[in-house]
Subunit: 382 residues, 2 copies
Amino acid sequence: MKLPTGFRAAGVRAGIKPSGKPDLGLVVSDEPMAWAIATTRNLVRAPCVTRNRARAASEQAVRALVVNAGNANCANGEEGIWDNDEFANVAARSLGLSRPQEVLTASTGVIGRKLPMDLVRAGVPQAAAALGDDVEPFAEAILTTDLVTKVAEVRLGGGGRVVGVAKGSGMIHPNLATMLAFVFTDAGLDQPALRAVWADVVGRTFNQVTVDGDTSTNDMAIVLANGRRPAGREELAGALGWVSTELARAIARDGEGATTLITVDVAGGRDERDAFAAARAVAGSSLVKAAVHGRDPNWGRILSAIGQSGAVADLSAVAIRLQGTVVYRGHPLPFDATELSRAMRSPDVRIAIDLAAGAAEGVAWGCDLSADYVKINALYTT
Amino acid sequence: MKLPTGFRAAGVRAGIKPSGKPDLGLVVSDEPMAWAIATTRNLVRAPCVTRNRARAASEQAVRALVVNAGNANCANGEEGIWDNDEFANVAARSLGLSRPQEVLTASTGVIGRKLPMDLVRAGVPQAAAALGDDVEPFAEAILTTDLVTKVAEVRLGGGGRVVGVAKGSGMIHPNLATMLAFVFTDAGLDQPALRAVWADVVGRTFNQVTVDGDTSTNDMAIVLANGRRPAGREELAGALGWVSTELARAIARDGEGATTLITVDVAGGRDERDAFAAARAVAGSSLVKAAVHGRDPNWGRILSAIGQSGAVADLSAVAIRLQGTVVYRGHPLPFDATELSRAMRSPDVRIAIDLAAGAAEGVAWGCDLSADYVKINALYTT
């Protein structure tokens, strides 16, 4: 997939991943870009997260983004901060940028191991020399245990494009459980408008992917916009939302050991906050996830998850639809369990809920909980 | 184990459980009792929970408690409410009590199936006829998929005793995931004092058992005190705390598919709320639980769980001790991973954390996450 106009990217093998797979990605724009970031809420944050947040607070434009996989450079004390700064410095030098502040950084991988700076210093110039207009090498270089690259694209009316790439979050390799999402566009908005739009988009998309409930120390979602092409705020917001939804679904579907994407659509919420919270609670319940894995139309677990979400619901009218069949509406409804179980034998299981408390809607994505998840996460050794 | 003075109990086979195991328990006191209750925070509550809460609000004394296993009588609409009332009525009649309001009810089992009232009407008088001073038949009758009965006892200085029984919570059979705990004592406090003590005890014990994060629709913890023996408030509070801690540990250890009890001790919290929250977050992290199952000294997951707990921590000084070995103190410390993994091959794994933010302490209990958990919860079919 081609990058939007004015962007170039690369992905190379720096040797940071023991597997020898691509592990260093670089993206650069011909001109300064407006940008916005959402990061992990975990109190334990990697230096790349802290530094990018400080960059965002400065409200200055940026030119480039450098990412490594295989090492999170997190919980490494002072040394980790210096190494992360040096990561940006090396990228700025390699790209001929005079200000390293114009470079954002991201790391994903094992926590508590020193970033191998010799490999970084050799790999970044190699990436700078390999820059091109295809997003795929970059998309591959940011993966950890993801099985597939995750890219999505929308074309805008004015000729511009939105291209997003991501790597998986949670239910992926322990200590490597990071969600990274980068969305590039040659459309543009002024910085304050872009920030407002991005916060809203991330809240409805990446924050609604629930996997094993753990939040990584390195999670971040960044949008970079060079503003070359005309685009209205509504159009761009819609496009960012569409691309981010596609990436969120791809992340959930590629969860560790997952066989099924679970989509939970909630209607009838008192407000959006409630609707999104109920959707997330159902998609994140271990019991619901295990039931989906076993193709068990177990609406009791869904009802219980709604109840513990904190969302207001009219329990005398709450309705649950599982793979198209209404199984509960204030009280249990008769259904053919064998047939419904058969309908659940699909890589896409959809749960639709009416909270009967208002008109707000929300959605969340998750994946089933398989024995493979436990095996992968128990057998991995630090 | 003998009940405290003035209590009698029974457990019988009413036929509610398909297995034919004991499934109906009854406890009665010779005189009115002070009591207190803590219940599930799930918005979806079984009629027994709703009714007991209304009884508590009336501040009236009670005489008896009747419990069934095998059917939660939850999400059954209006009919479930009538059936639960009738459950109490039948118990009152069988015990010769003129006021059914003096009888508390509890149900645990499958959600959304009608309580078989013919079996209840036959079983309750049978239990009333079998009353005795041994707690064990009652402890057995309240189990669902628990592997063992859970009882604990403390003797008080004035000759009184505290005897508690419980059944497992979470990580137990789907739709049967309920924690029930009943603590009986022949000591006593006035109702307001008992309520204050019980709220504090439950917050430090049963609420700190974390299993799969799901909260049942039927959870409750009740203390019943007939006040025959003298006991000071501090002494009784201590005894209730000890018994409840023992039951909480027993519940965690008997989690579905669990091989290991995980105890998380937190020190250095800014306040107790933080310390308990951090302990619960670590004990409840799927990644930590899977790591313990794999005997993997993966401190990165513990640090990340602390970070997402919301507790204040001085990250430059946070310390993590795993099975006695300090593995992290502001930065990673060297340790022999093979030896530590070997030390983790125990039915008891202890994680000790210093948040370095104050002097408050907290504790939580959980269990490891095994592939058996997933199998049990996926293969069960409604």
